[in-house]
Symmetry: C2
Subunit: 205 residues, 2 copies
């Protein structure tokens, strides 16, 4: 005897989640067996309904809350908000990145989520991303600046470079978020590439 | 704008789980949004049905699979199995500990799950545990040895001591699992209490 079947199945399913190994999965499952019954029911309900309730905004491809089932997803709250600066688009890789930028409260414009990066090694070219849709938005003429906020990784940098190449001909300014020392970081322990970027990007104070 | 409401609710619920902070919860939620739809539905279903499908064995209080809904929970597969040694009971704190002992394949007897330890500081006395039920099982007379496999923690040791005090008068042998060096451990890095127990519990070879 090991685990009763329903428990074994739950543990197996939980261990498919990112960052959750078999031991964590078992601990979570035991918690779900002992924890408050309403909490557990509510978690199951939230997971079960998630995909019906959240879709992608048809303009920026960030998350958008679906009002009615079977309806087309409405514009997300950022795209709907006419108070936001309508002439700037911040381009990010994933919906989670959009939310991170929003939390910084430093950007009041619009967004565009690529859903990935160009990655020749993985066979992901520009066509697999939402770049076509971005260029379409730019052709309408009201956007003056595109801020490329892809991650400072090899693929993120390559994607930024590609975007600048295809966007500049449209007469739109393309900028890239600064790469440098993270706040609270320590020069002694930071990697050389970051330190190099921090020196290269120095500004007069 | 931060998270759409259904996503925020899921993140909040996930972060109630043990060992899952807000960042991990967000990562899990994003995975559930992007991952295979069938996997997500199946996870929701497993969590939702878990508590209907798993109950506690009325004899040993380990997990037992409920065959029919609304029926009384049947004996677990260990208690039902007459091939197991019917004269030994291994006492553990939690159902997960029972499964851990089973996986070691070193024990072929029966179990009893206390569902906790005596913990005066937290106001948990013997009455809050399944000790009454254990003593009841012992009074039937067929058990010759009780192996106390509570954790080697302060509370686990106190519980073991208490059990030996109440069980011995019934004429049943009470043993305690060995405390010593874990396999693969290193004398240089092990704590002094464990090393002391390992020396104290030495055996001729």
């Amino acid at each position: 005897m090991t685990y009763p079947a329903p428990l074994a199945r739950l543990i197996q399913e939980l261990s498919k989640l990112p960052g959750i190994g078999e031991k964590s999965a078992a601990r979570l499952a035991f918690h779900l067996l002992k924890g408050n019954l309403d909490d557990v029911a509510s978690l199951a309900d939230s997971i079960g309904k998630l995909r019906e309730q959240i879709g992608l905004c048809p303009q920026c491809f960030g998350f958008s809350e679906l009002v009615a089932q079977n309806g087309d997803p409405p514009l997300c709250s950022v795209c709907r908000n006419l108070q936001r600066e309508q002439d700037k688009i911040c381009v990010v890789e994933e919906p989670g990145d959009l939310i991170a930028v929003e939390k910084s409260q430093e950007f009041k414009g619009l967004y565009h989520v690529l859903h990935g990066t160009i990655s020749p090694l993985d066979g992901i070219g520009p066509d697999a991303l939402r770049i076509k849709e971005l260029l379409e938005r730019l052709r309408h003429g009201s956007i003056r600046e595109v801020i490329v906020a892809t991650n400072p990784t090899m693929d993120g940098e390559a994607t930024a470079l590609y975007l600048s190449k295809v966007i500049k001909p449209l007469g739109v300014v393309v900028t890239r978020i600064a790469r440098g020392m993270p706040m609270g970081g320590d020069l002694e322990y930071i990697d050389v590439v970051t330190l190099g970027k921090a020196l290269e990007g120095r500004r007069e104070i």
